[in-house]
């Protein structure tokens, strides 16, 4: 009976609040998020850990949007084919987005879920915010 109850707890934690990490526009319109540590997470998470996660995300987005030889080549080739190659080829940006999704899943499993937090992939919020959902602390009665 107690096991059923704790399973239920783990599967349906109540959302306590949400924190939104906004975009940092100081370098222009490229995708960057602010690394300022939100005060609501102080009790749950290390400041350094959080900053590392956001910085890694920023680096991944910078890689996605990087203007370099490879992206120019892709762009020129696309132009020559009247951009029809976008219909058959996965773009560089999409490949990096998949990498970002894997990274966030990994971070959630290793660091955030054990602390009752959940990172939402920014692409699901239109690359506007990194949403951090804070779950109610259910450390009572769950045998943890």
């Amino acid at each position: 009976m107690a096991e059923t109850h704790s399973l239920q707890d783990l599967q349906q934690p109540a959302v306590s609040s949400k924190v939104f990490v906004q975009r940092d526009y100081s370098s222009g319109t490229i995708c960057r998020f602010q690394t300022k540590f939100p005060s609501e997470l102080e009790s749950r998470l290390d400041k350094q850990q959080f900053e590392e996660t956001i910085q890694a995300l920023n680096n991944l987005y910078a890689e996605a949007e990087k203007l370099g030889g490879k992206s120019y080549l892709e762009g020129c080739l696309a132009c020559l084919t009247a951009y029809t190659i976008f219909l058959c080829m996965e773009t560089h940006y999409e490949k990096v987005l998949k990498k970002i999704a894997r990274y966030i899943k990994d971070q959630n499993e290793k660091i955030y879920a054990p602390r009752g937090l959940l990172l939402t992939d920014p692409i699901e919020r239109g690359l506007r915010v990194v949403e951090v959902t804070i779950f109610e602390d259910r450390s009572i009665g769950s045998g943890r």
Binding site: M1, A2, T4, H5, L7, Q8, Q11, Q12, A14, V15, K18, F20, R23, Y25, S26, S27, G28, T29, A64, E65, K66, L67, S71, Y72, E74, G75, C76, A78, C79, A82, Y83, T84, F86, T91, H92, Y93, E94, L97, L118, T120, I123, E124, R125, G126, L127, R128, V129, E131, T133, E136, I140, G141
Partner: protein, 369 residues
């Protein structure tokens, strides 16, 4: 042992009407039992857009004069291939229909891509985000009433840029984003809403639009040149222009269309080439955002100060993804468009949620006690 308290805080009993047993297998039993066809996100999209091919193609609700644009191009090119090409192939070279064909294909493909691609629409803020922003605004400003203009200033490359709050989308617009009133969407790097292509021109489809107008100006100039050559060759030997026009009436139509459109299209191409080289949008140029009209020392903070790099960053940058996820499925319990949580939680009205939390706290107290 703790049977009664467990029963007390059973969330399913509070929220959904389904009297299902406690879940051993996961969250599925909490969902409503009526089998609904899963909806795709485009079906509940709040902007003024139309979708085709199950969300793959997006166009503004007001298609403007897109049919006219397509019609003009098809008619002019059709007449060119029917009336002028046979004569010119015989008298000049067979490269002419080949070049014409390539240009025509380019124009049509890029036009369709400009019209049917998501220009860079920003999805509207979720209710949680909107509430968070409202909270921040109220904290900093006067809490007794809301001051009408809500702006936020950011420093971009040592240049002060004002970000405006969008009341429709409930968020602060990122830099270079503008809300299109015709489409009722915020569009990133908003250039303009083009009635000729029936869509906004923004970050994602600007390169298609630019390629379209450049190739169209080449096509128009090419057809104009060919028609003039054709008529000149026919009128040779003292036969006269009228005779030539009588022999090839289609050319007269082409001549008129091309003559009137070539100037405006060439002008537009030149204008957009200037915009691309200085990394500006039509919107910014018209408003004079970076021209220092107000006497301040303002420069375009987005320009890379190098024409080549500007061109490359606008036209050859990695293609950004569509942010509105048209073909994604709505979570089954979100058909009423509630908050955007990713967790499969039963949709609780706020009242019952507080109810649950109170009972949780009660339970916690009894458990630890």
């Amino acid at each position: 042992m703790k049977n009664c308290e467990y029963q007390q805080i059973d969330p399913q009993a509070l929220s959904t009407p389904t009297p299902t047993p406690p879940p051993h297998q996961g969250n599925e039993p909490e969902k409503k039992t009526e089998p609904k066809r899963p909806k795709r996100k485009w079906e509940v999209f709040p902007g003024k857009n139309r979708f085709y091919c199950d969300g793959r193609l997006i166009v503004a609700r007001q298609s403007g004069v897109l049919p006219l644009t397509v019609g003009l191009i098809l008619v002019t090119s059709g007449l060119f291939f029917i009336f002028d090409c046979p004569f010119l192939v015989k008298h000049l070279t067979s490269c002419i229909p080949v070049i014409g064909g390539v240009l025509f294909v380019f124009v049509i493909i890029t036009l369709l891509q400009t019209s049917f691609t998501d220009p860079g629409i920003l999805p509207r803020a979720t209710p949680d985000e909107a509430a968070d922003i409202e909270k921040q605004i109220d904290n900093t400003g006067n809490t007794s009433y809301r001051p009408p203009p809500r702006t936020k200033e950011v420093l971009i490359n040592q240049q002060v840029v004002k970000l405006k709050y969008c009341f429709t989308c409930k968020m602060f617009r990122p830099p270079r984003t503008s809300h299109c009133s015709l489409c009722d969407n915020c569009v990133e790097r908003f250039d303009h809403h083009c009635p000729w292509v029936g869509n906004c021109v923004g970050k994602r489809n600007y390169r298609f639009f630019y390629t379209f107008i450049v190739s169209l100006s080449f096509l128009t100039a090419f057809i104009f040149g060919c028609v003039t050559t054709h008529l000149a060759l026919r009128a040779q030997g003292g036969k006269g222009l009228v005779f030539a026009l009588q022999e090839s009436p289609g050319s007269a139509v082409e001549l008129v269309i091309c003559f009137f459109s070539v100037w405006s299209i060439l002008g537009l191409s030149g204008f957009h080439t200037y915009l691309v080289a200085s990394n500006l949008t039509t919107n910014e140029d018209i408003k004079g955002s970076w021209s220092g009209k107000s006497g301040e020392d303002v420069t375009n903070p987005y320009s890379h100060k190098n024409i080549f790099i500007n061109c490359c960053s606008v036209l050859c940058a990695p293609m950004p993804p569509s942010l509105i996820d048209r073909r994604g499925f709505l979570p089954a319990d979100e058909s009423a468009q509630t908050g955007g949580t990713d967790i499969e939680l039963p949709t609780l009205a706020t009242k019952s949620e507080i109810n649950v939390e109170e009972k949780c706290l009660d339970f916690a107290v009894t458990c630890s006690g």
